[in-house]
């Protein structure tokens, strides 16, 4: 065992220690990975000492696929030779990250045989990351996972592994079937994941409501976020129960005054009402009064496009491009996949190299993007209309007419 004085300090303290785990693997003398993990601990300690990383990339993959393995070769292999290759397999988990223990144990067994014994549940994008194996073992490891029913995840300039919140499996806020939506889109675009040839990466994320438990707005190129069109459902008996338990002041301070649009009122007769036209479906009142309030019945999702981290123009959040799409019937899910596919195609055709879809929209303008995809203009797409007069408006009447055509019948509703 290498001496690891700095890492040893990370075995103290109440939080589970990854160092203890690494040492356990390194000292599993009967296992094929023990030496690799000793070497790895040595290199990691060296990084702690020198404050420097020592991995470099390369090209390693599995037969038939163009991505999904993150290759790592050591730059200090002379000192720590057994971990000179330390590749990671990204494997897509069951949607919602549910596991039988039996499945987990089998995954462990495969990784003991073909890898380091080190597994991350999960990567920030949602993969199970099987971390650390040699070039030689990549294919057999994948084959074993694949036979179990698992498939490689995304890497490189393609569709990435996705994530949905726990949603319908347990959460009463859920406004659509997240797992189905995830599997519909990802399994419908697998080719672009496994043989990546897009301008840059493309991520989908699925949250069942505006609480956005998978950070979809900031961290995905296309965010599917649950919402509803009709009225919030109110169980006035439930409201009375809350009032009985917590009092009116509590109700006012925790709910009424925190509604961002002042849409909630507590009446003198202790009923609670919501002005559903003002409500922005932010979820706050429902979160607090979960036993009395719930999303309406006409459920579905909003679609936002273009979230991402900093490179190269600065962080972007997704932009609302479809305020509502119903997600109930088979046709609805087919329409969702169709939209996703068209989105990816439009991205493939119009983005520059290494440009995310959010950057592309920034460059070509939202209106061109919407027109390119045939999405209808809606004031829900904006925080406010333009403040600048530099625009050529000679098509005003034709555009206004489009709106009137669309809204005419609705107005009569």
């Amino acid at each position: 065992m290498p001496s690891t004085p700095l890492l040893d300090q990370l075995e103290d303290g109440p939080w589970p220690s990854f160092v203890t785990g690494l040492k356990r693997l390194a000292t599993s003398e009967d296992k094929p990975y023990a030496d690799m993990m000793k070497s790895l601990l040595g290199q990691l300690e060296h990084s702690y000492q020198t404050r420097t990383g020592y991995w470099k990339g390369g090209t390693v993959g599995v037969f038939g696929y163009g991505a999904g393995v993150i290759p790592r070769f050591s730059e200090v292999a002379d000192k720590y030779p057994e971990s000179k290759e330390f590749h990671t397999l990204r494997i897509q988990p069951p949607a919602g990250m549910h596991y039988r223990t039996e499945t987990l144990r089998k995954l462990c067994d495969v990784w003991e045989e073909h890898g380091s014994g080190l597994i991350a549940f999960h990567g920030q994008s949602g993969d199970i990351m099987f971390q650390g194996t040699s070039t030689e073992q990549v294919q057999p490891a994948f084959d074993a996972f694949n036979e179990m029913g698992f498939d490689l995840g995304g890497a490189g300039a393609g569709i990435r592994t996705s994530m949905s919140c726990v949603g319908s499996a347990r959460c009463e806020q859920s406004c659509y079937d997240e797992q189905r939506a995830l599997r519909t889109i990802i399994n419908g675009t697998l080719d672009d994941m496994h043989r990546p040839s897009l301008p840059y990466k493309f991520k989908f994320k699925f949250s069942g409501c505006a609480n956005d438990c998978v950070n979809a707005i900031h961290r995905s190129d296309m965010a599917i976020i649950g919402t509803w069109r009709d009225d919030i459902k109110i169980d006035q008996e439930g409201i009375k129960a809350y009032l009985a338990q917590h009092g009116r002041q509590w109700m006012i301070d925790q709910v009424v005054t925190l509604c961002p649009t002042n849409a909630v009122s507590l009446k003198d007769d202790d009923t609670l009402t919501v002005d559903n036209h003002s409500c922005v479906r932010c979820m706050h009142c429902i979160n607090v009064l979960t036993k009395a309030l719930s999303p309406g019945d006409e459920r579905g999702a909003s679609i936002l496009v273009g979230g991402k981290r900093t490179l190269k123009i600065g962080d972007l959040m997704g932009i609302m491009v479809v305020p509502f799409m119903r997600l109930e019937s088979d046709e609805d899910f087919a329409a969702l996949l169709d939209l996703a596919t068209r989105m990816v195609d439009f991205f493939a055709e119009n983005a520059l190299d290494h440009e995310r879809i959010g950057e592309m929209i920034e460059r070509i303008g939202l209106v061109n993007f919407l027109e390119g995809l045939g999405l209808e203009i809606d004031p829900n797409m904006i925080a406010h209309p333009r403040t600048n007069s530099y625009v050529r408006t000679d098509g005003w009447e034709a555009e206004a007419e489009k709106w009137t055509q669309r809204k005419g019948p609705q107005a009569a509703e």
Binding site: I217, S278, V280, M320, V367, H384, R386, Y390, T393
Partner: protein, 356 residues
Amino acid sequence: MSQPRQPIESGVPDPFPEMHPVMVKNYGQWAWHDRPRPGVLRHVAKSGDTIHTVKAGTQRQMDVYTVRTLCDIADTYADGHVRFTARSNIEFMVADPAKVDPLIGALAEAGFPVGGTGNSVSMISHTQGWLHCDIPGTDASGVVKALMDELHQEFLHERMPNKVKITTSCCQINCGGQGDIAINVQHTKPPRINHELVSNMCERPAVVARCPVAAIRPALVNGKPTLEVDEKKCVCCGACYPPCPPMQINDPVHTKLAIWVGGKHSSTRSRPMFHKLVAAGLPNNPPRWPEAAEVVKTILYAYQADARPWERMGEWVERIGWPRFFEKTGLPFTKYHIDTWRGARASLNTSAQVRF
């Protein structure tokens, strides 16, 4: 001509000799005010002194007869002092409360509406237009007069949720500024270039630099150096016209009016705001611009009906949301409403918050 006279560089005149004596005496020592009725303010000083201000609308562009009439009224009822507000209303200060009603009577008699205080619609900010400017797309005096006729009752009464400050401008330069509602020129076609004139009179590098979208480039027409406009890029702003009159942006048909909503200068409650485009393509229709007036009234009365006390126009829309603004006013929402200028991203909805 004899030796020219040297100017006395006296700058801004001292206001104290001009000011009402009660104001001079209590300068900086005021305690509170209220409004006994629309058009009248009562300010009370810490000394206990009181001054009443009676506010009346004017046409701003006044002939000397009108000014003298106002002076006559001031001399008779208002201690011989007046002031003008930032919006060209006139204020009469009176030390003696008994003079307030007669003063109001005299103003009404002479045809000056008394109002514009508190939660009323004040005078529209006024610019030059065809009367004097060298680049106007419409008139200012006419638009203001026509609109104020329509909004007259709202000047007289204080029945809006908060003050309503309307502005107008006779070209896209917008000397009239931001407004709760703004009625502004919006050109819809690129400038037609009078090539003959360009070669003669235009300082070409200056105008090329002036274009916000770099749509102007040097060109040769009939062997003479002139300019051309890339019509795909041009945003029809007219910024090239003042430095280069041959860039003829104004057009009797294609110069339109647009209505903007929600500008706010005060830092009161909410931060200051810019106004936002809500309607465009309105005909530039003198002498009474009825189409623009109609839209303005629709917006104004939707605001009056729906806003809560103290909500300025922009604050109201922020609360109810733009989807409902377009619903309540019945104005169409188009792609032109979506901002395309720098920083436009900040105007997009990057949240899951949505209204139905």
